[in-house]
Amino acid sequence: MDVGNVLVWIVWILAAFACLGSGIAVISFSNPFYSALSLIANLASLAVLYLLLSAEFVAAAQVLVYAGAVMVMFLFVIAYLGGRADTPWAGGPSWQALAAVAAAGAIFVEVIVVIGLKTGGRLTHAPTTDYFSGSPYDIGQLFLTDHLLAFEITSIVLLVAAVGGVILGSHARELPGAEG
């Protein structure tokens, strides 16, 4: 196995563990501020994985759209509301947390098992060589041909969300004054 491969492996391992760790961190920090930060880390590490999967455009979008725009909005809101802490694992019926972990764990195990079953089949042998290169050009082409409609719909969804944000936000705005 050549050096490049080893390098890829090392990068992958780092990224993967960063991803997992930050994921855990997001749901275990009591302060949403930290959680948001670790989510950024998580997204970044994901971007790396995307790169390794040769999805350059997606990786870029991940960093720009997510780590950039979305998370900034998150942090803004969190800052705006003031980081109210809540201790995880607390509240609700006592069986809640346990059951939650059990359910999540069950799903995890099942998916792993499914993948494992799959390894017996076609999943292991080397992926096709003439793979889709995630270059912006190819992406764009797909967006304009096969997935034209999906592209448009996405924009509509964003429009709807934007309007919704405006409405809800304006609700908030009119409130402090006794009568809007």
Binding site: G4, Y66, D86, A99, G134, A150, G164
Partner: protein
């Protein structure tokens, strides 16, 4: 360049997905629940991209991109709701949202 097998990516995505699910299940702050939802979506995205890589078709990546946009939309609405709640002096704790029950 070869790099690790698809299977490993899938394991990571599965882990992420379930982590996010667990987050939704155990956290009470709506903010963090939103974050956990993001993690779930990203887990799914990773799987999509991995498969797209595996099958050598672009559909997965396109799907992933649209999912990003949709996730952003959800976040917008979610945050809007949270802000509105905060403005109405509602405590940011989903366990306190129990006027509707039974």
């Amino acid at each position: 360049m070869m790099g690790p097998n698809i299977v490993w990516y899938l394991c990571v995505s599965a882990f992420l997905f379930t982590t996010g699910a667990a987050g939704v299940l155990i956290r009470r702050s709506p903010l963090i629940i939103l974050l956990s939802l993001e993690i779930m979506l990203n887990g799914a995205n990773l799987a999509l991209i991995a498969f797209s890589r595996y099958h050598g078709t672009g559909d997965g990546q396109i799907f992933a991109l649209t999912v990003m946009a949709v996730a952003a939309a959800e976040v917008v609405v979610g945050l809007g709701l949270i802000v509105a709640m905060a403005r109405r002096r509602l405590e940011l704790d989903v366990d306190k949202l129990r006027t509707l029950r039974g």
